[in-house]
Amino acid sequence: MKTLRLAIAAFSILAAATVVSAQSTAFDIEFGYQNVDVSGNENMFMTQINQDSGFVLRNLSVSYFDPSENPGFADRLRLDASGFGGNPAGRLHLQMGRDHTYRLNLFYQQFKTFSALPAFANPLLDDGVMPGQHTWDRTRDILDIRLELPLWAAITPVVGYRWNRYDGPGLTTYHVGGDEFQISSDLEQTESEFYLGFDFATKAVQGTLTQGWRDFDGTNNQGLAPGAGAGNNPGSLLGQDVELDSFSRTEKTSVSTPVTTFHITARASDRIRLIGSYVYADADGDTNMSEMLAGSLVSFQLASFFRGLDQSVESNTSSPFQRGEARAEFDLGDHVDLKVGYEFRDRELDGWAMISSLFMETMSFSGYEQGDIVSLVEAQTGYTRKDQIGNLRVDVRDIGLFRFWGQFVVDDQDLDVSQDVAEIVLPYGQEGQFNRKVDSYEVGGMVDLGSAKILLDLGGQSADDIIMRTDFNDRSYVRGRVDWSIGRLFRVLATAESIDTDNQSSGVGYDATTTHYALDFTVTPVDNFNLGLAWDNYSTDSQIPYRVPQTLDPAMSIYTEDGDMYSGNLRWTISIVTLSAAYSTFENTGSFPLKMDHATARVAVDLTKNIAVAGEYENWDYSENLFSAADYNADRWGLYLRYRR
């Protein structure tokens, strides 16, 4: 991993360095050191923010252009990088090329992902045990390289490679033998895709055809977490202590997916454009898992106690997916556009698993020694899903100050889920054929008064049936926007959105309302001063009846959010000093009340035309009304040097 990062950095720097002395080059770098200090729940801070003390690359950009006839190996280059170091994410983007020769696009991104929530997946919270039992500290690296070879006017060969790796340690849980045990996990998952093809372009027809080969390889090695052998639940089951002495599991998954992609846009006449696209991906996956454990355990399925389990699982999936689209766009004069389209999406799944379990040293609940018991379960799963979507859209533009649009969409969903005997806990209901047809409409208009633009957009959806309980039968929305500005002096932007969703059919009774309002005010009285103020409110209220599992009594699941955010920011340049600051406070008073304040301040001083120093301060203050152990307050101080030319 480190080798890859170094290789990407070395290549990018080398590419940039070779052009740095050229006639038209811009270079800008800002880097420095930051110190992070957290009081309160550091795990929550890392879960949400994850800033760390250390070196940080705030920004690097190199831009080069050589318009001469003989520019060397590149006539243009653009390198942008930011965030690497103490920041939780870093991004690097290199674009370079030479006319009629090549275009290279390289993108790399790294995310440090951390999660250790105090109350999530935590059955021991009442005992004061924190964090919860599902935690991880992992890294995700993403690389995307694309090389285009525009050697000919009409055909451009393309070759590319995508790579995505997620790895690192974590903790999770396993329910076995009558208890839950915390287990450690060492995960390594990589998806890579190599593709090649070509872009084609003539005056009337443009498009792309590529063939890719995607592979996924994942390995998860798991073991019993230190001190977790006693399980989550104290006491005994049927007079026997439940304990796990040892546990190990290795799961390996590989998926191979050829992917074919085709797009075409054709200009049939000056007023008609035809668009087609097609994607076909045929995934085929295999999983092998082996698990060994020993202890004092109970199986209600076998009505037995047992001392060990040797389990292996072999499984296979086959899942072809295709998606196609055909569309015609008609230019009906200077003011009217008509678009008619059809899209389909087909997905199938055939799954098979053989689960072989050897329960060792079993004893019936009545005390009869049974020896080892073998259990073989063969499961076969499957579903097909077909979506057919038709749409019609009309745009009427430039009618005086106005423009209007309207759209109608029909979405026909067919889902056929196969039931498998091995899955059945309670008979009936896991399988089925579902058909759902959703009609959607949208109408809107905008008036452009020059300094002010007013937009109103409303729509609705109506479905004849539902597939899941939380699907809607009816949904409507209205959105509005007013954007008023006087030159650069000030700008007021107000947006409002309301969404009403419900399903009052028998046995569901789902009802939800969401509103979202925002008001932004920006004033720039002089070039060197800018002030922004904003308010944002997000409110949602949903309810759906459910049955309380232990009593089967009906109850209502109610969820609310009512969050207000106030924020302000300013930027002020006085001679060689630039001051920028921002503050936001967000408070939610719904089902999960909390408050989060966030403040940043930065002072940058231009020491010379090329060199500047900057100091930054950032503070986060997070608190939950119901659970103060989650609260934290964190400061970040940073000192940075900037060089540009």
Partner: protein
Amino acid sequence: MVLGVGLAAAQAANDDREASEACAVCHDTVAAELEMTVHSPMRAGTPSCVTCHGDGTKHMDNDGDPSMINIPTGASGAATCLECHGQIQQMFAGRWAHGDAEVYCGSCHTIHSPHNAQPMQLVKAANDLCAQCHPSQAGSFEKPFGHDLDLGGVQCISCHDPHGGGGGSLKVDSSGEIVCYSCHAEKRGPFVFPHVNGVAGTCLSCHQPHGSVNPMALTRSRVDQLCLECHSVFDGSTLGSQPPSFHNLRSPRYQNCTTCHVAVHGSNTSPLLEK
């Protein structure tokens, strides 16, 4: 035919370049800047002033009257850019994501400036550009759980295609599926025992990607509440309502469904999503 098209385009570009030389007499600063961009008229086959602004004869004859020259704005302005940027045109096809709001190429991209501070010739940082018209969405990222839009993190354009595309305003991944898999590749499956995704819902059935007040960016603050809304039976048969949960939720042990059902994104080894 292909060769003919190429030669014709090159000839047209040469004609335009000669006609554009007159522009630089007055617009010397812009012309000088333009020469240092990929749109430089010095380069063979590239556009020039005339390519986008049209014949400037009347403009020059009327003392530079700006009404006498084409200044690409709005949808017609976008059409000018799309004449050359065929790949973008292809993306735009039928999905004029920003057409409703009269956003055109120049709203976000600068044409003339060399060495712009932002990549893709953007007039300001990508996230700031989106936020100036979508403040509600930008505000959602101030919530404590969700994607990090800060330095080096995801950008709005990581998931959304401002030009439109196969998934509407949402991008699709390389195989035409929901964009979430572009990063969260391990959630793609396929799984022998799938759950929600691809069957009858998407990632958005349970998660709020823009930011959430709930851990794991979930749509509900309590996991059991989120699960029970589907896994509950009244009358009728909806997918997922069987088998209904039968655990005693008064026990903390069962209030955290995912403590046992850890593989909520799908499993290849456990029908009950326990590993």
